[in-house]
Symmetry: C2
Subunit: 188 residues, 2 copies
DNA sequence: TCCATTTTTTACCTACCGGTCAGTAAAATA
DNA sequence: TATTTTACTGACCGGTAGGTAAAAAATGGA
């Protein structure tokens, strides 16, 4: 088996495990078992559990970000861009919600400034949040989004509002509420 | 030291610890240390870590629910009731956000139907969610909330949308967006 | 085919986990 | 005063956690 093959098997197994039980609820032996690999092999590819976790985290957020902003450039107007992001989010949640599960699992840990892993993880998450809030900011400057909206708060709401276990109707409602809440009266 | 004194010290220490590191990130010795108590004493009051956790969980959600619906009866109109709930939520988050931190920490685990603790914890959380969604439902029937709103989805959004680490402005924005998104056009 | 390098397995370590238990000092009850 | 209960301790247990060292196997170029 080639290098990247094993590495990827481990990453995927770890992602699955972390999504189900969280960073602290999963052991390296469990991950190894899911990956169909001996535990020590994980340490051949990853220096520590923390490193493995961070790689999974980064990998996952990259994927989410790529999905959210995938073809946003196709939209010319800000309202269209925001709608697209929300729609992509729901798409992502229904098709492969493992990523959102991990975020949900570890969101609380992101405030743990005592441990390096969480600082790094938090930074990556903040980058994603920032990208969303900047979109909101520009839409606000273009008078598409209401002027009492704080872009950072809106970004948080978008990221937190959807639940990976929700039904489609629930997600549609969340989407609708956020959209209606964001846009300024002039746009109605 | 009297019975309830020690028990309460343990509960409070556990709450603090769980809020910071989560159920799986905290050991019984840590909790004991924070409480200023020997580990074995915890087992004198609580049969297991799971039992202790569930007591903390229930205690916390009771507190949140009490706060959210505290004096909602004072409001006669549904719009006022909903506004009050949102306002109380922000109040609660700024004054004592430990409870919300625990919920944030363990939200992901609530889907773990393999372990009894999480099933019980999830049930208690669902009760709270249901109480919110029923308020939304009645407000919807009174034409205060827009008719495309799914009450369950709205309840989820309210519970998830706010972040215990947010600034006041961010919370205000979340409140504003949700409110604007909920109410029907007739109310504007 | 041989050999050096990469990849994987075996065997093992230490620290700490949740939890138990025999015992005890002091308070309450009889 | 004698007995029972309450609140608490410290030593200890089996098991498992993350992690490591070294041997074994696979790989691939000469």
């Amino acid at each position: 088996m080639t290098q990247n093959d094993s590495r990827l098997k481990i990453i995927n197994a770890a992602r699955k495990a972390f999504a189900e039980k969280g960073h602290d609820g999963v052991s390296m032996s469990e991950i190894a078992q899911i990956a169909g690999v001996k535990k020590s092999l994980i340490y051949y590819y990853f220096p520590s559990k923390e490193d493995l976790f961070f790689d999974v985290w980064e990998f996952s957020i990259d994927e989410l970000e790529g999905h959210l902003f995938g073809d946003i450039e196709g939209e010319s107007k800000y309202l269209g861009k925001i709608k697209k992001v929300l729609k992509s989010y729901i798409d992502f949640l229904t098709s492969r919600n493992e990523v959102k599960k991990i975020i949900l699992m570890e969101k609380g840990n992101l405030s743990r400034i005592d441990e390096n892993t969480w600082i790094k993880a938090s930074k990556r998450y903040d980058d994603l949040k920032k990208r969303i809030s900047e979109l909101i900011l520009r839409a606000k400057e273009a008078d598409v989004v209401a002027d009492d909206v704080d872009p950072k708060g809106a970004a948080e709401l978008i990221l937190n509002g959807f639940n990976p276990f929700s039904s489609v109707e629930e997600m549609k409602t969340v989407e609708e509420i956020i959209l209606r809440g964001l846009i300024s009266k002039k746009e109605i």
